[in-house]
Symmetry: C2
DNA sequence: TTGAAAGCGGTACCAA
DNA sequence: TTGGTACCGCTTTCAA
């Protein structure tokens, strides 16, 4: 049988409540007693049962990361480890744990009851693809702490973190202009996706308001990168540079342009979102916007801990942006001779 | 205040123990009572407290995935989501949860006491980079269920799952031979890494025992891919094909060969381990061995659940291999004309 | 078939 | 500064 608080109390010849106070480093216990009890704990290899503690304290020291594992996406595949690392880097030192909650089997509706009513976690972090307005309302009504990863306009009060895609898109576009490109186009991304909206907005921010740059949406894969590039080339005024929604779109564009003998960066400059998985390894390597997904996770963890510890702040709306970083590579090096 | 088993008992006019039995679908309770109590549970939105249950049952329904988040590796970045998905796919339906345990802050030594003695988890899954012989011994002594991801010869009794790298390497090499290549070489990987040993062994398995193929180790990055390729080319009998330890090594090789005007697959064939992140997107696309990391996680989860539920089987050694899949692409398509 | 009561391993209040 | 004791919410044994 494992050693419990009672064993320690008996061995130390003190009351169980005294042992408990030693565990919590209560100031009402003398140093002498503390030392004695601690020595015995060490000797007996005692470790308090987390369940008993949590039950008694009515607190879980556990936060849930809600995901839908049935969803496969490049973003998740390439950033999940970093996001978890970021979350853990802030909650771990505070002695909180991270539980992965897959809603795939449970279903979106029953999951609130499972995790929120079941008090398995003190707070949750979830994706904007998982949070429905109804779910948000339910969580809000219960004043249950939660942070959304990914902007979600229209549902409030809401606390979310996101990569600042709009500002990032502007940075990327400004870089193209600074390199001497004059007519950037934007390709890839689905119109219904808020990500697309934010990035196109940033793209437009960086351009003169009078200009009407080509923006061609399409599911972000290699084939569409090629197809949309073809479309761009057939325009009466073909662009001299392209901002791509993803690495795969950019890869498709590179392929298409390569086959047509159009050289990059001389004839057309290419910039793309995300450094992973391909940007450093294409020919030529792609100028891109590197997304700090570790920071994203850390920000989410930080906001969540703040909410858990100051429950009155829970009703306040809070958004936090993580700024992406421009990584300049050869695909936009129009001015490399001048430099 | 939240609704507890007492509230339900009161509302249903039965004893608390009766409610408990309904929760556990005990056969000693009449259907009528069950239905009545269940209806009230539903009505009152009751969800049992998992901590109370776990404390009373002395069981956690929780398994720990031990990782060292301070480690950054491509493999983890690209496969972590899949591994978690695999583990969850088997433990989730059994109502187990997955807790991420980062040993970065805790330290390798204290972590046993934290998770094992602290009874936070019923079993753990960890990496062969985390399991030390001492730790293994400690876990074995306590008969604590654990599964290692990644082969770890020399420590026993031990239960682990791994990708069958040796057989995979042989498959990859046999493919080269079947395509008509005669002198494969192996580059990349560190000699101290068991992964390197397994893959080189498989590489040799596929070749005539009399042959002494070039095997050049080196940390697996792009620069070494280039450097080792140069070395290969300067050999008196230069190889006609290369098995690469990783995508980055292969990428380096492609770069080097490309710059020298050596054409692939005609002059030299290239095959590599891992489909991620680059293999489909290089020029030419790389023939590779695709590692099913979801299956790896699922196998680990499966073995762990078996151990938890049959504690007497815990002393038995068990290894499970996940077979990698050959993905043929252009980089080894020597026979494409013939085909 | 149901109920009463004693745990599970802690916390926390109040009295000593 | 310490001890006694009533919980936290559920399970389980034993009696009714």
């Amino acid at each position: 049988m494992r050693v419990t608080i009672n064993d320690i109390a008996r061995a130390a010849n003190v009351a169980k409540s005294t042992v408990s106070k030693v565990l919590n480093d209560s100031p009402t216990i003398s140093e002498a007693t503390k030392e004695k009890v601690r020595a015995i704990m060490l000797e007996m290899n005692y470790e308090p049962s987390s369940f008993a503690t949590r039950l008694a304290k009515q607190k879980c020291y556990n936060i849930g990361l809600i995901i839908d594992l049935s969803r496969k996406s490049d973003f998740l595949n390439y950033s999940f480890y970093d996001i978890i690392g970021g979350v853990e880097s802030v909650i771990g030192p505070l002695d909180y744990e991270l539980t992965i909650c897959n809603i795939e089997h449970i279903g979106r509706d029953r999951f609130v009851s499972r995790f929120v009513l079941g008090r398995k976690v003190d707070g949750i972090i979830l994706d904007n693809s998982i949070l429905t307005p109804m779910l948000a309302q339910e969580l809000n009504e219960r004043s249950f702490p939660y942070i959304v990863i990914g902007e979600l306009p229209g549902v409030r009060p809401l606390r979310w973190v996101d990569i600042d895609n709009r500002s990032g898109a502007a940075i990327l576009t400004q870089h193209l202009l600074a390199q001497g490109y004059r007519n950037p186009a934007f390709i890839g991304g689905e119109e219904c996706d808020p990500l697309f909206g934010a990035r196109v907005a940033g793209f437009r921010d960086a351009l003169p308001h009078t200009s009407l740059p080509p923006v061609l949406p399409g599911y972000s894969n290699e084939a569409n990168g090629r197809r949309l590039t073809c479309e761009l080339l057939s325009l009466s005024q073909a662009p001299d540079s392209i901002v791509c929604m993803s690495n795969l779109v950019a890869f498709g564009a590179l392929q298409e342009l390569g086959e047509r003998g159009i050289s990059i960066p001389e004839n057309i400059g290419i910039a793309t979102f995300d450094n992973r998985p391909l940007a450093p390894y294409t020919t030529p390597p792609l100028t891109c916007l590197d997304m700090d997904t570790f920071a994203l996770g850390a920000a989410a963890g930080d906001m969540l801990m703040a909410q858990i510890n100051e429950p009155n702040a829970i009703q306040a709306e809070e958004h936090r942006w993580v700024e992406p970083k421009l990584v300049v590579r050869q695909s936009t090096a129009l001015m490399k001779g001048i430099d």
